[in-house]
């Protein structure tokens, strides 16, 4: 290429080396030479065509805008119902349940250890009754819901949603929605010594749900592979998508190994994915495009999938909570808007925009509204929805997409070397990788190599913005305990005992647990009662300690 020999004075650059957030070197400018090897049909394809780099649908947002799916839950089912109704009136197009830590851990409000967990980070739910109240008056036959548990509460919470829908007369064959249900997501980055079900067993439960749903709730996405959690915990962009692929491979292998008559095209089309949209704008775009290409290659080459839906990476994004700052919280609204923009240029199917106060608390009604409006402004004002993959063909973006993908393949190989994702998680290797990555990020912030506005630069001694914060209902624990008491008085205890006995038998025999779980939930068995059965069979989780690298 001819260089521009103008008379402009050459300015020294601000840094010796420019890199992406994950450390990939970035040049001053990109030219056709950087993508000289790129073959359009082989490497990109048009939107809706393999390898789906440019998007999984031909029309993308011209056909259908992404789903505005705000992850939300607070206090009790009644309070959450009010918030959901408010958000629905304001234009969200998908629900997503944020449970509190008690529910996630499978505890009832009166269980030991539940007191400090009720209402932390989400809504407290312990029986199908809560699910009925939470979605009362909401059109779940039209608007899909994402159930976001962690592995040891996956079957119970999703089952409650199914049972509630059935009670409302909705045919499960038509019920649309998602369960996060990725057993490897939280296990890979969370070590919770007090959690009730050890990993291998939790893995089985998640696959049981996927297997049962594939037949009984065919439109339901029973596993949404979630790299968001380990990304939040510290890994970089290419490690994130390598983990995502490794997790999906692990579940496919498990189901094929079970040999229950399902081929990849019977269950993989239901898979969805949940990625982070983090702060390095172009690297995130490259990451999402690269992830689509990798998935298509894996399903084509490794698994010989025939159904195009098995090869399409459909994904939800959540803006990066870990990029939000405690300091100067209103700045977070701007970070979120950029991350939403990156995802909309990448062709995500569904999005959650974090709220500016989320580094401090559950979003208030005010901050939750701004998150919805952030997405609506992107959808309706700035015309980014008019063209599919508008950055396709950019020398820089294509080159970076190739680079991120290359690094991700290498990292996937690394995971394979450690025995695949299940092994890599169980042995603690991946957890150590997460810890290493998070320390690296901290070092970069401390040394000033990585700027965080309001934290290590542009700091202020006084907080400049007046922001109000959400607080848990102070009566919540008592209220939930009273509610549990009332439930136990009203239901038929003999039915519950019968259902729990059946659950025990199928769990021990190795059969799919879901029919028994559904039966139990329909007679208002609680999440704690079901968890106790599993705990008595599986035993307590062995604390692997957190400090693997320590």
């Amino acid at each position: 290429m001819k260089s521009n020999k103008s008379n402009i004075v050459k300015r020294k650059e601000r840094k010796e080396v420019f890199t992406t957030s994950s450390g990939i070197p970035v040049k001053r400018v990109y030219t056709p030479e950087d993508i000289a090897d790129l073959q359009y049909d082989r490497d990109l394809g048009s939107p809706g065509e393999e390898p789906y780099v440019r998007g999984i649908y031909p029309t993308m947002y011209r056909g259908r805008l992404w789903t505005i799916r705000q992850f939300s839950g607070l206090n009790s089912a009644e309070d959450t119902n009010k918030r959901y109704k408010y958000m629905y009136q304001q234009g969200i197009t998908g629900f997503s349940i944020a449970f509190d830590n008690a529910t996630l851990a499978g505890l009832d409000p009166d269980d030991e250890g539940a007191e400090f967990e009720i209402g932390t980070g989400g809504v407290n739910v312990f029986s199908m009754k809560d699910m009925e109240e939470m979605f009362d008056g909401l059109p779940i036959e039209k608007v899909s819901t994402a159930v976001i548990p962690i592995m040891w509460s996956t079957c119970q919470t999703t089952g409650m949603y199914f049972a509630m829908a059935e009670k409302r007369g909705i045919d499960l064959k038509k019920l649309d929605g998602t369960t996060e249900g990725d057993p490897l997501s939280t296990a890979s980055c969370i070590t919770n010594p007090t959690a009730s079900v050890p990993f291998r067993h939790a893995f089985r439960l998640c696959v049981d749900l996927a297997e049962w749903s594939a037949i009984n709730v065919p439109k339901w996405h029973a596993i949404s592979f979630t790299s968001y959690n380990y990304r939040e915990a510290g890994v970089n962009a290419y490690q994130e998508i390598a983990g995502l692929m490794a997790a999906a491979i692990a579940v496919i292998e498990e189901e094929l190994h079970r040999d229950r008559g399902l081929g990849v095209d019977d269950f993989v089309p239901q898979f969805t994915f949940h990625l982070s949209s983090h702060s390095d704008f172009f690297e995130e775009i490259a990451k999402m495009r690269a992830a689509r290409r990798m998935w298509c290659k894996i399903m084509t080459e490794r698994y010989n999938a025939k159904d195009p839906h098995s090869k399409m990476l459909r994904f939800h994004i959540q803006t990066a909570g870990s990029s939000l700052t405690y300091q100067q919280p209103l700045n977070n609204a701007i970070r979120v808007a950029y991350q939403i923009l990156a995802a909309s240029l990448s062709g995500a199917q569904s999005m959650h925009a974090c709220s500016y106060d989320e580094a401090l608390c559950i979003p208030t009604e005010e901050s939750a509204l701004l998150s919805i409006r952030t997405q609506q402004i992107a959808q309706h004002e700035i015309n980014v929805t008019n063209v599919a993959d508008p950055l396709g063909g950019s020398y820089f973006v294509e080159s970076l997409t190739n680079e991120v993908e290359k690094k991700a393949w290498e990292y996937l190989e690394e995971i394979d070397k450690h025995g695949g994702f299940v092994e890599a998680v169980e042995s603690g290797w991946f957890r150590a990788e997460v810890e290493k990555a998070e320390m690296k990020r901290e070092d970069e912030v401390r040394s000033g190599e990585r700027d965080v506005v309001g934290v290590n630069c542009f700091k202020m001694t006084e907080e400049p913005y007046k922001v109000s914060f959400f607080r848990r209902d102070p009566q919540l624990v008592e209220k939930q305990r009273a509610k549990l008491q009332k439930l136990k008085e009203e239901r038929d205890d003999r039915e519950v005992e019968k259902a729990l006995e059946e659950l025990r038998q199928v769990t021990e025999s190795g059969e799919n647990v879901m029919p028994a779980v559904m039966k139990a939930l329909k007679v208002y068995t609680t999440i704690g009662e079901i968890s106790k059965v599993w705990k008595s069979i599986f035993g307590p989780i062995v604390p692997s300690g957190l400090a693997i690298t320590m």
Binding site: F116, I190, T191, A195, E463
Partner: protein, 128 residues
Amino acid sequence: MGKIRVLMAKPGYDSHFRGAVVVATTLRNAGMEVIYLGGQQPSEVANTALQEDVDVIGISTLSSTYMEYLTELTSLLKNKGIAEKLLVVGGVVIPDDVPKLKEMGVDGYFPPGSDLVSIVDYIRNGVK
């Protein structure tokens, strides 16, 4: 004087471990002995602090029930006669609540984004 001994824990079931890991690793790299407990109830933290005779108790909270949790923890520490140990809290505390922590018996508070060196210095100066 031997190594400074630090007990590090998080409230119960909260899964936001990043801050705790980063601080625990930093303290270890600074030559302290860190006992990492992960998510625990206040009684476990108080019992371990007593048994291990630590100098410092560090609680990393990203859980909205920090006031209730710390109220119970500080009262347990008093009951066990170990309230004089340096109690340091890190993580998310709503700004209005920060002065209340001191009244409760929390010695130091470090919000997210705190300079790690300042945490190390604080502990070194606080442990006599």
